[in-house]
Symmetry: C2
Amino acid sequence: MAAEKSWVRLVTAQTPTNIAVIKYWGKRDETLILPINDSLSVTLDPNHLCTTTTVAVSPAFHQDRMWLNGKEISLAGDRFQNCLREIRKRANDVEEEEKGIKIAKKDWENLHVHIASYNNFPTAAGLASSAAGLACLVFSLAKLMNLKEDQAQLSAIARQGSGSACRSLHGGFVKWIMGNNDDGSDSFAVQVTDEKHWDDLVILIAVVSSRQKETSSTSGMRESVETSLLLKHRAQEIVPKRMIQMEEAIKNKDFPSFARLACADSNQFHATCLDTTPPIFYMNDTSHKIISIVEKWNRAETTPQVAYTFDAGPNAVLIARDRKTASLLLRRMLFHFPPGADVDLNSYVLGDKSILQDAGIKDMEDVKSLPSPPEIKDVNSNQKYAGDVSYFICTRPGQGPIVLSDESQALLNPETGLPK
Amino acid sequence: MAAEKSWVRLVTAQTPTNIAVIKYWGKRDETLILPINDSLSVTLDPNHLCTTTTVAVSPAFHQDRMWLNGKEISLAGDRFQNCLREIRKRANDVEEEEKGIKIAKKDWENLHVHIASYNNFPTAAGLASSAAGLACLVFSLAKLMNLKEDQAQLSAIARQGSGSACRSLHGGFVKWIMGNNDDGSDSFAVQVTDEKHWDDLVILIAVVSSRQKETSSTSGMRESVETSLLLKHRAQEIVPKRMIQMEEAIKNKDFPSFARLACADSNQFHATCLDTTPPIFYMNDTSHKIISIVEKWNRAETTPQVAYTFDAGPNAVLIARDRKTASLLLRRMLFHFPPGADVDLNSYVLGDKSILQDAGIKDMEDVKSLPSPPEIKDVNSNQKYAGDVSYFICTRPGQGPIVLSDESQALLNPETGLPK
């Protein structure tokens, strides 16, 4: 170990979040986080939704510490400890001559780390912040400790922090292979196609207002595995076939098949939640309305325009076949779900705001004068629900984790290793 | 046939509605209405929910005619025609000496009938009015035409009008055996136990306000059969086991098992609706809240107090283990769902209103001062939703169809055969 205690080694990385289109619901091993079926996700553009994490090591640190969004949090939980242990085990020699840093493989067990993490989106909004967060923790620590493992091997470590985190180790479309081994060694994520393969897709997320306290996905999936007779059938008989069909649809950029599978699989996941004792409701009336609007539009067209998928909460993730469709989708969404009083357009449509221009919407007057969508025939389906959506985020499929080499983007001070 | 054209023969009958605790969802034959699984229901007390039907025959009638709730409706639909045809086929000689009526078996094919039907509850409220209605049509026509068939055989005729109608031919707990024959001859309803066997049970129906137009159960179950992969598994693998367990629970008056099975089966039926393409949502946020309240209370007690079940709509049917429990349930319901403005208590709790006394509630002041239920610990679960329930009906398990011999209760004029 370097004799001087003055140095701090920093690595900063950025990792995307992801949304499953074939859902992960249910573990066969709670400790190792091994799933009961394969799953498949699209990685979201980190420009709009990502976690940035800086990890630091210094002989001056006396304990492992972590800060999330500026606030110190405990690292005592199993999820963090499992990841830290697995990464330390695989650490290698590190040498940075200009800083006088020299760490031998065996030194790592005595060195402590500081971790600072920041989400560029609301943590509690049900947008898979734990997936991006754990993936970023693993990816940045792996760089810090000079691991030789590839992304798939790192994904198997991230999996032990948060199941869906393993899918955030890659960009584009990503498959989490459930594996068969009891030790989890063959349960990891691989890329199906990169984000450039199908770059027509545009993703609109509706963050739905909710007063209900939701069941955590950890306890929810445990209860489903224990009590839902339908979940077992889904995992064993239905998902294996759907995985093959979904990979095929993605490789062929076959949007109608992609949309049908994504919608059916989201609905089936929520069906197994409802089949749980006691039943779990993640979607609410607003979620149902969004589905009805999309279904009605898709049926009015000759071929599906938009796919929807919902995770363990009421938020809708809407995937439009192209940018033109996305702008028509946004017009429909703003027609039915205008912002509530005192909410301005600029804070109502986030992410890639240029979609507003494509949709021909400059201000609230344009929102108010939006015509009823042509597929709506009866007055009953014409209703507006101001305030039922908190905000929209427009994004697209995006890249996997990257190291940010510009030290100005670090969340920890390079001298002290404490939050800036 | 009697030479004079002056006579009118009348029969008036009353038939209950029923609510399934093991659900019927999906037909294997659309024309004969043959189901994909057995189902089991409780018949509701006709004093609170029933259809009354008067049928009349006279040589003076020139065509078959029908009035529902005072308004003439068409009899052209397959459902009516199937029942009429099947009953006429089985008609027998009738003789009423004092009225000078003599109808030979062969005369029936040339005689026309008048039918007047009346529901003592709102037709469109999603309270199985078609089940009671078709059952009453079949039962009263069978009496008019002197059929020799027993209730099970009549139920097979009613089944061809509306599947669940077959279960309204008996009181108490009733099983609809799906049968195996292609001609439907072995698909009929039998009584499991009569209504006196388990007379502790009290049933509280919450009629839930809804702006959504619902998918009809006929088209809904067709779409589920065509698209839900989970429904097939439910019908083939899960329901057969549950039927045996449910019959056992009813025979033993084992409320905990009864409640667990009823709740799980209601939730699973709605899960298969959600697994349908496009998905069908019958329950709404209010339905979900009612489930949460009951589930929380059941968990707080050592054993289930109340079972819930929902048909193809948002209304909750709550089955309390006894009258004391029902009064505690009503207090909880009125705490969370007080009547909306301008609704008085007398039009908010219908059916057996004496439950209000048991619950210690005389007026709106008592409703306002109801304490928060003891099982509620966090403020979030303490919310009130005035107006989300339209009204409650308190009832109990009840008897099967009866003939009303008092002619003053007839809905048709005994001289003219036209509505009174």
